[in-house]
Amino acid sequence: MLQKDFIAKIKQEFGLDPAHIKAVAEKKLAVTVDSGEALSFLIYLKNIDFIQLSLITAVDWIDENRFELVYTLVSWEKNLTVSVSTFIPRDNPVIVSVRHIWPTAKYYEWDINEFFGIIFSGHPEMGNPLFLEGWSEKPPMRKDFDPQAYSYERFPSRKYDYKVENKGRVIE
């Protein structure tokens, strides 16, 4: 299916504003939807042959005080890739799980929950450890987490005795 036809199809069937649809490449689309209508849009895409969920990932936009969730979907029949991104507030990061629509989402959502602290409601593993063992700090992929300070405090570093003979300086 051509990209142009697909954009027209979404507009006609789902009623999405074309300003929210961006053509990234010849067979790739980026769609931004509100967090409220994200689930219904994802279900709509599942019903029109987007049977493969390739990835869910999150971005921490700390300056705008919000998280971006990106769902990458692939349709083999239409030969198209669509990435659906939605924004949720950073203070109360809750979104509905898509685990019942694509079973693969189980580990993506669990992973995001562990590394960003985003809660996917309807997912049974929220709060259980997946990769990190014995983690008690804030989620490590958040931008306000300082990995260097954590590493230096928890894991001792090797001390070297060295003498600086020529100190480097910035030439302007």
Partner: protein, 170 residues
């Protein structure tokens, strides 16, 4: 007297267990196979920790793998030697500021020899092993004895990095 004779014979036949935690494992196939052929020095790969003499830790160690390395090391029978491979085991390397990886292996396990570099080439591995064989023959490489003597200190450091998870199954 007998220990000295034993040390000389031990140094000639080394079975190596390679714990491929990081990217350094890619340098081991050329070391083992025909180009560099480490068997001509009497070093062979071994599949199980209980029959191995050397534990080669190749690359960075996250806290999760450190726990398994400690188990592996403690399963090995003495005398045993531990070789840290690459700058990640030495001082953290490029992962010195990572929240998940340790910075210094000899805080947790007694390291007999470090091979510096990111990554060390097969020549360095062979040179390092020849040096380790010399150290074994002279009785200089006695990390396993130090681990027995200073067990409390090592255990304290292990607990500090791993928390209460040490010796649990999950």
């Amino acid at each position: 007297m007998w220990e000295k004779v034993k040390d000389i014979t031990r140094g000639h036949s080394l079975w190596m267990l390679y714990y491929c935690t990081g990217c350094g494992a890619i340098e081991l196939p050329p070391t083992m196979t025909s180009r560099f052929d480490m068997e001509r020095f009497g070093i062979g790969p071994m599949a199980t920790p209980r029959q191995a003499d050397i534990l080669l830790v190749t690359g960075y160690l996250s806290t999760k793998t450190l726990r398994r390395v400690i188990y592996t090391y403690e399963q090995m029978q003495s005398p045993k030697w531990l070789v840290g491979f690459g700058s990640c085991t030495l001082n953290g390397g490029i992962y010195h500021d990572s929240y998940a990886t340790i910075n210094q292996l000899d805080q947790y396990l007694p390291v007999d020899l470090y091979l510096a570099g990111c990554m060390p080439r097969p020549e360095v591995i062979i040179k390092g092993f020849k040096q380790l064989m010399e150290m074994i023959k002279t009785g200089e490489a006695d990390g396993w004895k130090q681990y027995q003597d200073n067990r409390e200190w090592y255990r304290e450091n292990q607990k500090k990095a791993l928390g209460d998870l040490l010796y649990t199954t999950r």
